[in-house]
């Protein structure tokens, strides 16, 4: 099955190409069904190809070469199929299939229905290119292509200026990260002479000194921070919520944004050689987790809450992979994919049912109207809050355990993680209560209704996964760990502290934090609106700062965008047009003015010229006679 692994990418790509040319003719819902089937088929192929890793513990991956691309730098189109790639593939295609199904219902009636599935399929193909690439160039290709799809999908409703601007912002901010990634790649090539994974990772210890490895790691971090929305490049993700909600679920929660985590895990040997880079990754992750969580507290847009929550959860994963807990990071990546996709799809269902209303202040009491959505979202809220035995508990706990075990700075990170867990539990519970309980605060004419079957079924499936996925990797049975181990045999993977006692203690603390957050939110937001509004006002300016996301966008605008544009204008209109071109035209003018002065000599009269001619002639003759020593 490994030989046919290219099908995993080819199927969704073929779906995209097919839908691009024939989608409009197929119409609704056939285009959506074809798009879904191509991803589902890709999932099936991926699953079949992953079987060897499941059956035979410790099975090694292999690299399948497709064709030469840029042989001069060791970059060919090749697929590295190992257990890490398999996990990612299954997450992407699995969650992708569910979201495709959901989209058939959600995008119902959109005039560009087929185009939406074209882009979604293209995205799946790109994301798979990213995780399956057998060399850095191919990963970079996937990296950029998912950026493109993200751009296309965020600005899918391009007639809305804010959507178009958000798409552009996402792409450009990502590009800033890519700049770092690219320089990292240059360093890799300069040191190894190739970009192929095969030629790099095994030779890391013999070739890289610690300084270079740290440099490469930090540059990769820049790239990862762009793609995974970490400080300081996270600003694009909240804006990306302008896209249709399934896009937010698929790209901006479950898959694309985790590419940074995947990158760090994939390049683990380099981070191992430069551990300080890893530590920086973890610190960035922790700061982002706390920072974004605090912003999420005060958001009133249902999707913005989830967006900042995603940023925060990605920070968690960064903590894990930064400290060497690659498997913990990937584990959280997986569980997060399930429950965050569920949350986004649930919010999509709410928005759909509320006629495109996104303001939570105008919701309330929806549980009765939308029971499936409400219950499944409730499950996801519990999961993200880290309540056992749901998936979020196991993965989050493992990350906190890794941080605790690291010691030193790790303890600080662990505390930050705990605080974040508490805040997360708070704002997620707040969201659930604001949306689903209390008095209805709907606008006039809005009649909430439960979404169609095509939307609720994926919710239920995801809810089941949210409940069950955690058991893939519990301290009792480390299935995922053993599955992934062959992919990380070059490095030493960090683990939570050994022993049941420590496990129980740490789990108790984190669960306590989760419960505390939920209790606080539940206490406030289960009561009438006036009470929680007074509660919010109690925070004063702090709440305003959170609600305004610390005005980071304005700060970037004032310090980077506006001066940048000024510089550009200065260069274009003053320096280039006036300076350089002015210099050129100045030379032209100088020549012309010399000409104007000397033109009086040109009388146009033959005899005047003749005088000059004869004078010259005589001068030559005299010179010949005098200096030439005779004729």
């Amino acid at each position: 099955m490994t030989d046919a692994i290219w099908l995993v990418i080819a199927l969704p790509l073929a779906g995209a190409v097919f839908l691009h040319f024939f989608g409009r003719r197929l119409g609704e819902p056939l285009a959506g069904i074809i798009g879904t089937l191509s991803v589902a088929a890709s999932f099936a192929v991926g699953f079949a190809a992953a079987l060897p890793f499941i059956v035979e513990e410790g099975a090694h991956g292999e690299t399948v070469m497709l064709w030469e691309w840029m042989p001069a730098i060791g970059a060919n189109l090749e697929i590295a199929w190992d257990s890490l790639a398999a996990v990612m593939t299954l997450i992407i295609t699995g969650v992708g299939t569910l979201i495709h199904v959901f989209s058939i219902g959600y995008m119902h009636g959109d005039e560009r229905f087929a185009r939406f599935f074209t882009y979604l399929n293209l995205f799946i193909a790109s994301m798979l290119t990213l995780v399956l690439g057998g060399n850095f160039a191919m990963v970079f290709m996937g990296w950029e292509l998912v950026g493109l799809c993200s751009y296309l999908l965020i600005s899918f409703w391009y007639t809305k200026p804010s959507a178009a601007a958000a798409g552009k912002k996402a792409f450009i901010v990502n590009r800033i990260g890519d700049f770092g990634f690219m320089i990292g790649l240059m360093l890799v090539f300069t040191n190894f002479g190739t970009l192929a994974f095969d030629g790099v990772f095994e030779r890391v210890p013999e070739i890289l000194d610690e300084g270079t490895a740290t440099a490469i790691g930090l540059l990769f971090l820049v790239g990862a921070a762009g793609k995974s929305a970490q400080i300081p490049l996270y600003v694009w993700l909240p804006d990306a919520m302008e896209g249709p909600t399934p896009v937010s679920a698929l790209i901006h929660a479950a898959t694309m944004v985790t590419a940074g985590v995947y990158l760090v895990a994939r390049t683990a040997p380099i981070f191992e050689a430069g551990p300080n880079a890893g530590l920086v990754v973890a610190i960035v992750g922790a700061l982002t987790a706390l920072w974004a969580a605090s912003i999420a507290i005060a958001q009133s847009d249902i999707k913005k809450v989830l967006a900042y929550s995603t940023v925060s959860q990605l920070g968690y994963m960064f903590i894990a992979v930064g400290l060497g807990g690659y498997i913990a990071g990937i584990f959280h990546l997986m569980t997060h994919a399930f429950f965050k996709a569920l949350l986004f799809l649930g919010s999509g269902s709410v928005i759909h049912g509320m006629h495109d209303e996104q303001d939570m202040n105008k919701m309330g009491g929806l549980l009765k109207k939308m029971p499936v959505t409400g219950i499944t979202m409730g499950v996801a809220t519990l999961a993200i809050a880290g309540i056992p035995p749901l998936a979020g508990f196991w993965s989050k706990d493992e990350i906190l355990g890794v941080a605790f075990e690291y010691g030193g700075v790790g303890i600080v990170l662990w505390v930050i993680g705990l605080v974040t867990a508490l805040i997360t539990a708070f704002y997620m519970t707040r969201q659930w209560f604001m949306v689903f309980t209390g008095e209805p605060r709907w606008d006039k004419g809005v009649e909430p209704h439960e979404s169609p079957r095509s939307m609720t079924v994926p919710l239920v499936v995801l809810a089941v996964l949210t409940v069950g996925a955690g058991f893939l990797n519990t301290p009792f049975r480390l299935t995922l760990e053993h599955f992934l181990e062959p992919s990380f045999e070059l490095v030493k993977v960090a683990h939570p502290p050994e022993g049941w006692g420590m496990f129980a203690l740490l789990a108790a603390i984190s669960v306590g934090a989760g419960f505390a957050g939920m209790a606080m939110a539940g206490f406030v937001y289960s009561r009438p609106r006036e009470i929680w509004e007074r509660f919010q006002q109690g925070f004063g300016r702090l709440w305003e700062a959170w609600a305004a996301a610390y005005r980071v966008d304005d700060i970037y605008g004032a310090t980077l965008v506006t001066p940048g544009r000024k510089l550009s204008e200065r260069l274009a209109f003053t320096f280039d047009a006036g300076g350089i071109d002015g210099l050129v035209n100045g030379v032209g003018r100088a020549v012309r003015s010399v000409g104007t002065r000397t033109r009086v000599l040109q009388t146009g009269l033959v005899r005047n010229y003749g005088v000059g001619f004869v004078a010259g002639l005589l001068a030559v003759v005299i010179w010949l006679v005098v200096a030439g020593g005779g004729v």
Partner: protein, 102 residues
């Protein structure tokens, strides 16, 4: 006994040439200027013949032959131009032909 050397002929040619040259500068009539040019050409021919004799070969005379032919061609075209200009300007004065004034 004064012998006539090639230098004599060359001197004569120089004088004729100079006269032609000055004529071009002082006369305004295109026809006369043309005649002055012919004068200069002939002065040169004389030097060819004299030099050819002094050097003892015929090439000088052959050169004269070619100069004659070219001069003839030049006169033909030049006179045609003068006639054409005269038709348009009713004058043969070169001073009126100043279109090239800068």
């Amino acid at each position: 006994m004064i012998e006539v050397t090639a230098g004599w002929y060359l001197s004569l040619a120089a004088v004729l040439f100079s006269i032609g040259l000055l004529g071009i500068l002082v006369r305004r009539n295109a026809l006369i200027m043309f005649m002055c040019v012919e004068l200069m050409l002939n002065a040169v021919n004389l030097t060819f013949v004299a030099a050819g004799r002094a050097l003892g070969n015929l090439e000088g005379q052959v050169a004269v032959f070619f100069v004659l032919v070219v001069a003839a061609a030049e006169v033909v075209v030049g006179l045609a131009i003068i006639v054409a200009i005269f038709r348009r300007r009713e004058s043969a004065s070169v001073d009126e032909l100043a279109s090239l004034r800068g």
